[in-house]
């Protein structure tokens, strides 16, 4: 097979356990975001827009939605004769087989996939982040520096450094020290989980890591520190722009709200850097004579008869007359019925909020509540029916395992 200079390996097997009920049936990269996208669209579109046409997507946790969503990669222009997108789940070999034991092991288990393209460089990405980045510029930087690995970094607020892997660098951007989630950071440059490796180097380190019985086979915990210890040329590639890990209920909600600003930090309307997504052939949205829509984003297939204020409506969401949606994220196919109120909430796919119900109510009850968010964001899982006139407590995380009680209410 002809050689490829650079291919991408996209880690998409994570559960995203801190998203709780939103990742019950799907992996974190498949979680809907921004009205018409799924989280993984940002990374796949970045690859496509950066001219990287070979992408291996490593899946493990709840892969069904992700598999069918990615398909042969047509929306991202990754349906190619040579290269394109390949979904890579764990597999069985003659001598047994394993789940992916960590991010590094997942790449290790796919050496054969990578080798068939004989690449010079391998871009390792995670499918968990919302950002727009030109990987080709980072690759150029990597080549100029003659690095073994280049790690994209972004400045984070000092008070949040304890949540990230922090890179300490010299004036030339060479990494001198790596601190994983430090209590006292010396720097505020956080790793974005975007790595360019020279493939020959990466191969050596992954082989060594695989033999180490004490390793947890993780890039951040094991591979990067090992490379640093060996004195490899490691560079930090400073990225300025919007980057957000949407790994928690709060950050997912916030990242959606960020899109609603007058001058949003992440522009989705850029014709030169489109974010591609699977298109379900829905008609343009209908805004009725009784509707009020302000400071919001609304997607194809939606019908709005009520009031939508500072919210994100996903594909095919329906807001009935008299209903009010404020500071909320309403996922695909959800219906907010007559006079219902939804405040500061995330409503899961195809869920129905029946007439007169109030979701996110200050003095409401904890109906079907399995958890409570500190931030007061109310979360209602997908494919359920919230009964009419129910007053659902603010901050409740609602999951109905016995939702078969309302089979006739379910939207097909």
């Amino acid at each position: 097979m002809p050689k490829k200079e650079c291919i991408a390996m996209l880690l998409a097997g994570g559960q995203g356990s801190r998203l709780g009920i939103l990742t019950k049936k799907l992996a974190k990269p498949a979680v809907p975001f921004g009205g018409k996208y799924r989280i993984i669209d940002f990374t796949l579109s970045n690859c496509s827009n950066s001219g990287i046409d070979t992408v291996g997507v490593l899946t493990q946790y709840q892969p069904m939605t992700l598999n069918s969503y990615i398909g042969i990669g047509n929306p991202w222009d990754l349906d190619r004769h040579h290269g394109g997108v390949s979904v890579l789940p764990p597999y069985v070999r003659q001598d047994g087989g394993d789940w992916y034991k960590g991010t590094a092991n997942a790449i290790y288990q796919n050496f054969d996939f990578i080798s068939q393209y004989d690449p010079e460089y391998v871009l390792v990405l995670s499918g968990d982040h919302i950002y727009k980045m030109d990987y080709s510029q980072m690759l150029r930087f990597h080549k100029e520096k003659g690095a073994a690995v280049t790690i994209a970094v972004i400045e984070v607020p000092w008070e949040e450094t304890h949540r990230f892997g922090i890179m300490n660098t010299d004036e030339e951007n060479r990494i001198t020290e790596f601190q994983e989630k430090p209590k006292h950071a010396k720097n505020n440059l956080a790793s974005m989980g975007v790595y360019v490796f020279s493939w020959a180097k990466l191969k050596c380190y992954l082989e060594a890591d695989e033999k180490d019985p004490d390793s947890s086979h993780d890039f951040g915990k094991n591979v990067i520190p090992a490379m640093l210890a060996q004195g490899e040329k490691m560079y930090a590639y400073p990225f300025t722009g919007y980057w957000k890990d949407v790994g928690t209920i709060d950050s997912l909600w916030e990242a959606n709200m960020d899109l609603l600003e007058e001058d949003p930090p992440l522009k989705l309307n850029d014709p030169d850097w489109k974010i591609f997504a699977l298109n379900p052939s829905y008609p343009p949205q209908y805004i009725s004579p009784t509707a009020h829509v302000h400071r919001s984003i609304v997607t194809e297939g939606c019908a709005v008869f009520g009031e939508v204020e500072h919210s994100v409506l996903f594909l095919g969401a329906h807001v009935a007359p008299g209903a009010r949606v404020v500071d909320s994220v309403v996922m695909p196919g959800a219906r907010i019925e007559e006079n219902a109120v939804v405040e500061k909430a995330i409503i899961g796919e195809n869920t129905v909020i029946k007439a007169g119900a109030h979701v996110g109510c200050r003095d409401g009850e904890g109906w079907m509540m399995i958890d409570r968010t500190e931030s007061g964001i109310t979360v209602v899982e997908g494919n359920i029916v919230v009964p009419a006139n129910l007053r659902l407590a603010r901050g409740a995380v609602v999951s109905v395992t016995r939702w078969q009680e309302f089979p006739e209410e379910r939207i097909s």
């Binding site: 009205g35 309307n269 052939s281 829905y282 343009p284 209908y286 009725s288 829509v293 400071r295």
Partner: protein, 372 residues
Amino acid sequence: MASLAGIINLHEPDERIRELTRHRSLAAVPFGGRYRLIDFTLSNMVNAGIRNVGILLSDKYGALLDHLKNGKEWDLDRRRDGLFLLPPASHHGPAGHGVVGDIPNFSHNLDYIYKSRQDYVLISGSNMICNMNYRDVLDYHLAKEADITVVYSETAGLAKSPPYTNVVTDEDSRVVDMAVNPRTPKGDKASLNMYIVSKELLIDIIDYCASRGKEDFLRDGIIPKLDELRVYGYSYRGYVGEINSLQNYFKHSMELLNPAVWQELFFKSGLIHTKVKHEAPVRYLEGSQVRNSIIANGCIIEGTVENSILFRGVHVQKGAVVRDSIVMQKSQIGPGVLLQNAILDKDVQVSEGKHLIGDSNYPIVIHKRARL
């Protein structure tokens, strides 16, 4: 199950909608915020399980080819069958020979019809906006043991103004008379220019006409044979919008603002597919006032939009008012602009403070890429 192929015949009159068809065929006229007219017929065919569709091209088909490409958006990029773009005869005829009817185009592509593996052919134009289940029509055709089935509507009011084809049936729904643009129609039944016919009979009709110098499929191939062939009328009772003039284009566009029509046209027996542009969701900014409108993805709205249809990527700036208007793809409406009863073709820029006001019966049309 009997198999069905589709032919979309683009030999359609467009004199009365020239404002929008100067550079494109009628089939490629943008409609409904993100579609072109042909999307409805093409999607209806695909939704009925048709996997072999031939498009009989006529003229000005550049925009249409760009839209259809390899048929991927309609799932017609097939190894067997799929989408076939059939060139018109006129381009191959002797210079100066104007083609009057559609038979030369059929005849020129007779090989395609010969090679089709399906037993029956559905022939349709591109300008009837509806969401029809063609399987029902085929079932009717088979149940009636008809030679030809003509789809008509009694309710859409098509027989009120030409061009139209009047259909007259007996109690058993057998078509006893058809007439193109008669002065006084008999009854309200008007053809939707959709026919189901067996492949063999279609070839016979084309051959009969072509070999006798007759050029019109309907007038020469069907109407004279109403006595000898079993021609049946299928009554379609759903919503139909026929587009062949600027007035009915404007009228049927505005009917999309009726939620019942929106629901029927876009969801009833299947979704309507079109070329995907990967536009972001619509952004409603501070100060936006939107009522009774259809808005396609990629729009940014800072001003007022009422009773209007905005195509993909339209930007309505602060203080602008768009009322009773249709604004096509990527047009930019500057601050303080007033549009009323206006149709803006693609990529028009209206600068600050301009007022463009048409009549409700005669909307003002601004041509593609105009800078005002």
